[in-house]
Structure formats: structure tokens, C-alpha cells
Symmetry: C2
Subunit: 302 residues, 2 copies
């Protein structure tokens, strides 16, 4: 299959990134500034917050303030994670553009991460999807552990396909397939996409790969050869990996953009502006970007 | 083209790695211990030293002591870089198994790096190849800047093919194609191999990719799809990049091994032993391994 001519990039730094930063809770103003900088760099899809109980994820306790505080850019979709109806209602009050639900392809991970079985989690999403439909908001579906689980090990591609199909049938407009612990390699990633696209048209699938083992870019290249044209990434590689201390989480947006530019694939995003944003936010966190492209190119001289 | 079923890995840490470490000159005993640990981990090809004038590369000033000091393992090829006849004679005195010459696909890089044109460098290699033939020693040929040059920018695939063919015709048994500054992306890497394998059979070509921009594994996956089955890598990603301060150089052996294992490709090398060696040598240098796999897996608990 030929590589896509353009790719839609879904930016994860404000949510999946900051939620997992070991440095603790980032001030609301910093989160808002980050989101505004990302939009200015050309991002069209930004996951801005998570409307989950602050008891579970204190880092996202200011989700409403963040969503309400952003100076919105026209043409930019600001989305939020809404694990249940309560989260959705709270998100709707802030004028969220789009929401997301978060499932798993691993029973053990589902139990440990969201305290219910996969089937129970899908049932819990039903009213979220229904209410979102009523108010005309699109819902994105995440499937975690698609290339491996910290508790179960390998995950069968057919299981990923099954959960993706359930989310698709339920009305999710896009299914983001997450290699949560970053253990996948290219052939496994291809096989997972091959199995899933038999159940869900490939244009509705996104790749959400973590770079914990340095495999994310090789895997992204491989799945683009399978027709994937939506990619999740986090500026500066924000967000560590809770399952491997000191290791990386989300693939860095800068590295993905460099790969795509080299392949002649359009994104509409300004790489240097993203690099500079990555240096800025990691400066706030007291560290350097986890992006080799950022380190090699450096920030723009002013 | 199907992926190879096995890959020959050529270990670069003792030479290309330590030569470019910013921390200064590593003690001879440490170099020898590194080489012996790598052989014990299952490496069959180790570039151990460079017989170049210490005026140019002081880090390799103890090449003779290193080569003579190694306790050799049967079945392991210990090679050395020999830029000229004098270097070769010095290397032969230490009982080197194999030597290598180092050319470039970029005129500007050739001038700045070895102070002569590409044609002059090839002429300089002739007596090295001739003498090596006399004594029955194999010669490996390096071509640098195959995917970009710090002075010229882009390099035409045809130029790489031309230099590779010259080295092959001269008698080099293997031509290692180096993305010296790590700027390449997968399609460019494929096109470069496509052009080169029209001049030199692909089984005589090796990929020597640097991870400066994080692209090395994606590029390796792409060129394996073009038939490449010999890969150069350095344990712990040893060796920085002289053209981008603070950035990475050689792709880490650990990351390459993890990729190959995931693809079901044999190498005969013990990944955990390489990870442990990487932690040990970077401990000597006062830093951590530049390998995401090493950071994610950690050293073996003893």
C-alpha cells in the first residue's frame, strides 16, 4: 500500500503527556499556554484535558479551568477524555469540541486500570456515546495495550480488532490504537492493523504509539504502509512510562513530524514551532525535550 | 522483498563509539574489557581500534596496545580502521583479523574529514587493499554521508552507488553505508540502497546508521525490506555526534537487537548481556546508556 500523502496528527502532550509527568502537577496557566502554543504551531487536534475524578488523576483536576481558559483558535478541535457520563456533562459545560473514551484490549489491564472488564467498560461507554450523539459531539475511542500488556504480555491481534469494532459500532468516529507500554515492533504492528482493518475501515483507525523501547517511529512507518494516516504524538515526548521508570512514554511530535517531512507527507504543522514549544514546556518542568530531533536541531535562535 | 531471516551485526562501540565520546580518552584497560565483554555477549564482528595518527584522533592513540591486549575469542573477528599503508602495517603487527578503509560520498566531507578528494582517497586505499590481499586479510569499505552531508546537504543516491562500486571493485568484501549525521528517513534510505545494489550485490552492503534524529530504527527496517542483512551499531549508543552537540551518534546495539528479535530475525547475540555491558561502560564514562531498550529493561538483577 502506498504511504499516505497527508497525515492528521493528534497532539497528546497536554493530557497523556502532563498526566504522566513525574514532576507532579503543572499549573493551570502553564497548561493553557501549552495548548495555545500548540494550536499556533499548526496543530488541528489537541487533547486538552481529562474529565476523570481528581481522586484517580490529580494532575487533571483542573480540567474545567483548562478547557474554559483556552483562547480557542478557529479550525482547531480541543478534545477531552470523558470516562463516564458525569465526565461528559462536566466537559460539555466547558464547550469541549470532542470527547474520548478509553478502553483496553487486555482484560487484566482493563481491570487494573479502570476497575472493570472490557465488556463492562464498553457498557459504561454506551450512555456517553448516546449523550454525545444527542448534543452533536464526536467521540473518539482509545484501545490500550494493542501490542502488549504489562500484566498479560502478548495480546492477540483479533482481540484488538474485536474491541475496535465494538467502539466503532457504538459510534466512535475514530479508534486510536495504543501501544501503551511501547513494546511493539514493526511486523507485530502491521499484523495488528491488518486484523483490525478487517473490522473497521482503516481510515477510521489511528496509531498511538509509545517510544518506551525506541520502536515508535519504525512502527509508525510500518503501519503507514498498512494505510494508517492518523497519528497520536506528544510534543517533547511529554509523559514518562509508569511501567518502566525513567523510560519514555508518548512518541515525540517533533520526531514524528521529521519522519513525515522526510517521507514527503503533509501535516500543516510547523516543526520548528513545535520544537520551540517543547523546549519551553520542558523548561517549565526542569528538563530537556525527549525528542532526538529537538536535541539535534535545537531551538530557533531569536 | 522479505525481511532477512538472520542479520550479521557489526559492533562499533570500541572504535566509532569511544572515538567520539565527549568525555575524553578512555583508559586502554577499559577498552580491552569492553571488547572482551562484547565478544562474550555473542558479538562476532567488533571494530576494536583505529590505526590513524594520534595527532588526528588522540582517543585511538593506544590502538596497538588495545589490539594486542584483547584476549581473543575463537570465531570473533576483531577489526581495525587503517586509513593508509602505515596504519595497515601497524595493525598487522598486532595480529588484526580484518581492516577497514573510510571514504565518503560527499566531496566536501572528504576534503574536510580526510583532507583529499574522493578520487584521491580511493587512490590512497589501493596500496592498502593490495597489501591486505598479499597477507590474506579482508578489507571492509566505509562510505560516509550516504544520506546527507553537514557541508553539502543532500547526496545523490547515484554518488553513493559510484563510491560503493569503486570500493567493491577495488576488493572490499563488504561496503558499509553510513548516515554519518543521522538525517535520513526511510524512503531516502530505500532509494539509496536501491541505487547502490544495482552496482554492488546487496549481500555485500551494510547499513551504518546514526540515530541523531531518532530515525535509525525506522531506516533499518526500511532497508531490510530492500535486502540489507548486515547492520552496524554501537552498544549504549556510544559516541556522540560531532555535528550536533548533545545529540546521539551510532544507533544503540540494544535497540537494534530488540527490533530484530521482535521481527523474528536471528543474530546469536544475548540482548541482556549487551544491556549490562552498556550500563557498565557508560558507568565508566559517568552517564547512562543512550538506548531506550536499556533504560526500559534495566540491567540484570544480580
Amino acid at each position: 500500500m502506498p504511504l499516505p500523502t497527508s497525515v492528521k496528527l493528534f497532539e497528546m502532550a497536554p493530557r497523556d503527556g502532563l498526566q504522566n509527568e513525574p514532576g507532579g502537577i503543572v499549573p493551570t496557566g502553564t497548561k493553557i499556554a501549552l495548548i495555545e502554543r500548540l494550536a499556533k504551531a499548526g496543530m488541528t487536534h489537541i487533547e486538552a484535558a481529562s474529565f476523570v475524578s481528581p481522586k484517580w488523576v490529580p494532575q487533571m483536576g483542573d480540567a474545567a479551568e483548562v478547557m474554559s481558559g483556552i483562547k480557542r483558535q478557529p479550525g482547531v478541535v480541543y478534545s477531552a477524555l470523558t470516562p463516564n457520563l458525569k465526565g461528559l456533562e462536566n466537559a460539555l459545560e466547558t464547550g469541549v469540541d470532542e470527547v474520548a473514551v478509553f478502553g483496553a484490549a487486555s482484560e487484566a489491564f482493563s481491570q487494573k486500570n479502570i476497575n472493570c472488564s472490557i465488556a463492562e467498560s464498553l457498557a459504561r461507554f454506551e450512555p456517553v456515546l448516546e449523550r454525545a450523539r444527542e448534543v452533536g459531539i464526536r467521540v473518539r475511542g482509545y484501545v490500550s495495550c494493542v501490542l502488549g500488556c504489562p500484566y498479560e504480555g502478548e495480546i492477540a491481534p483479533g482481540k484488538v480488532a474485536e474491541v475496535a469494532k465494538a467502539l466503532y459500532d457504538m459510534g466512535c468516529y475514530e479508534i486510536s490504537l495504543g501501544d501503551t507500554i511501547g513494546v511493539g515492533t514493526p511486523m507485530a504492528a502491521r499484523r495488528m492493523i491488518e486484523a483490525t482493518r478487517q473490522q473497521v475501515p482503516v481510515e477510521f483507525l489511528a496509531a498511538h504509539f509509545h517510544d518506551t523501547y525506541g520502536m515508535a517511529l519504525a512502527n509508525l512507518y510500518a503501519v503507514m504502509e498498512e494505510g494508517i494516516s492518523v497519528i497520536d504524538a506528544a510534543t517533547a515526548g511529554l509523559g514518562g512510562c509508569p511501567y518502566a521508570k525513567g523510560a519514555s512514554g508518548n512518541v515525540a511530535t517533533e520526531d514524528v513530524l521529521y519522519l513525515l517531512e522526510g517521507l514527503g507527507i503533509e501535516t500543516g504543522i510547523d516543526l520548528q514551532a513545535v520544537i520551540d514549544t517543547g523546549y519551553w514546556i520542558t523548561g517549565q518542568l526542569g528538563r530537556k525535550p525527549s525528542s532526538k530531533v529537538a536535541l539535534a536541531k535545537g531551538r530557533a535562535s531569536s
